[in-house]
Amino acid sequence: MKRYFDYYRATMKLSVLEQLQYPVANYFYMIGMIAEPVIYMVVWSAVARQQGGMVGGYTPGAFAAYYIVWTLVRNMNIVFTPYGWEWRIREGQLSMSLLRPIHPLHGDVAYFAGWKVVVILLWLPLAFVLSLIFKPELNPTLLQGVVFFFAIWMAYLIRTMTLSLLGMVTFWTTRVSALFELYFAAELILSGRLVPLSLMPDWVQKLAWFFPFRWAFGFPIEALVGNMSTSDLLTGLGMQLAWILFGVISVSLIWKVAIRRFSAVGG
């Protein structure tokens, strides 16, 4: 256990150091990323005003809170992508990882966790500016704050596992971009990224319950900005934990088969 702790610490440190090499580029990247939620926020706020100040229980201030928290959750959602898997296999980078006496997935989790530390620091002033402009209505309880803290990290782990599973398809076939796009389209609709899930039709909300997308995106936001009961908050954390366990077990099983197919291409 101590060994893993040391490895995670060292990898996260390396990741932080790398990100600090390019602070301006990182900032521009984040500014570019907030364009999407700002558009959603402006559109839905306008709709709410036209509907007499509220739509689906959301006021413009509630939308502002949702989408400002969205920007943090979106950054927490950034993990090693399936395209990255394709690249690491094609370029032979996976070979270097496989020579190490530690599972490559630990490297992915630790590296991007380190990246998050920098992201959160860079996000704070952006969130402050967005708050000044859009005036969010956000009054979380202590419990909501605590649940949110754990939920964003568990969301990170869920997405790491699901995208790793998707990425491992590249062990069987190359050029799987179409499959990835299909996944991301489903994620956009069922996660709460495009619009809060409570504004979606009832059947979409029910469907979303059974997929990992909501637990990796919408739930952490709702946990902080919504009016969820303690029971709902704990159920949400339980669902996140279940998806993490499912992901870890699935990744472990598929990895064992996948690695036998690995032909160490590209050196």
Partner: protein, 328 residues
């Protein structure tokens, strides 16, 4: 002494899709794909004793890298058996991986944007190296490879040779017992090649490590390897001492001498390899060497006559040429 690397009838075959050029063939490929079996490694066997430095030679596509990948656990063999330090590499047990390293001349594992010192610390964590031992080893290698002035510069600011030296330090910090070196001097200048050779030799001497080295630079092989294993088309061609390889496959020797103002038909003596002023170098059949040198000394006023074995590059070339004919 029991061997640390032992492979028996090792094979790796790939099923590779193939088709003719053109639209019709592409359309047919949608209905029925045709596959060809490529035998990258085709039943090779050899053993390596602890502390040996063995040159693993062969032309491009011979199966050298595939073999190294099977020995380091990156690839599962199609058939045959492998044992490295008593482990089955394909199982990639952590105890096994802690005792080996694979350095590939065209692969990087150090962070591009950071000084090597930061990446070295990650290596320490990966291999759970105690801090004192890590610092001692790191500083020792830095000194041996004369890297002190460079370890604080980002890797991206280093030359190819400097980067390769850093990669080697990173790959050896855990003091592996087995080194698989795949073209470690690829693309480096002569000075840098020599520095790396010296370092590998020193590491082998200090730690008694076993080294299996592939290189297209024969200077690497001559400087480091007493024994060579030669493969071609995935099959073993030769396993023995380098000197025996030269003896067995070298059909020629080179005869050099100095001669002034001579107008001679040299073809009666041998093939002219080079002329540099009064200095001439001829290639002569090995079995006729003594007869030709005697004639040269009797017929002409030659000075400083030397007889040397053919360059190792020529020997290897002739090995592949001879075997190509017999294997087709």
């Amino acid at each position: 002494m029991s061997s640390v690397i032992s492979i028996s009838k090792l094979a790796k075959h790939y099923e590779v899709p193939e088709r003719e050029a053109g639209l019709k063939a592409a359309a047919m490929g949608l209905i029925k794909r045709r596959y060809k079996t490529v035998k990258a490694v085709d039943g090779i066997s050899f053993e390596i004793q602890p502390g040996e430095v063995v040159g693993f030679l062969g032309p491009n596509g011979a199966g050298k890298t595939t073999t190294l990948k099977m020995l380091s656990g990156l690839l599962h063999p199609t058939s045959g058996s492998t044992s490295v330090l008593g482990f089955e590499p394909a199982k990639r047990s952590h105890d096994f991986l802690r005792q080996i390293t694979l350095v590939m001349g065209n692969r990087n594992q150090l962070s591009w944007d950071l000084p090597a010192l930061d990446s070295f610390d990650l290596q320490r964590a990966i291999y759970s190296i105690p801090m004192d031992e890590f610092k001692r080893t790191r500083d020792e290698f830095i000194e041996l490879l004369e890297l002190k002035e460079l370890v604080q510069k980002p890797i991206r600011n280093l030359s190819l040779g400097e980067r390769m030296k850093m990669e080697i330090v990173g790959a050896l910090l855990h003091k592996p017992k087995i080194l698989f070196l795949d073209e470690p001097t690829l693309g480096l200048d002569v000075t840098m090649q020599k520095r790396i050779r010296t370092f590998v030799a020193e590491y082998n001497k200090r730690y008694g490590a076993t080294v299996l080295l592939t290189s297209h630079y024969m200077a690497d092989v001559e400087a480091l390897c007493k024994r060579v294993v030669v493969i071609h088309h995935g099959r073993l061609l030769f396993d023995g001492e380098l000197s025996a390889l030269v003896e067995k496959f070298s059909a020629f020797k080179t005869v050099g001498f100095t001669i002034n103002n001579a107008s001679v038909d040299w073809t009666q003596y041998g093939e002219v390899i080079s002329t540099d002023g009064a200095r001439m170098v001829l290639r002569v059949p090995k079995e006729k060497t003594s007869a030709i040198t005697t004639r040269l000394l009797n017929d002409l006023a030659v000075e400083d006559l030397t007889v040397e074995a053919a360059p190792i590059e020529d020997v290897i070339e002739s090995v592949f040429a001879v075997k190509e004919e017999t294997m087709e």
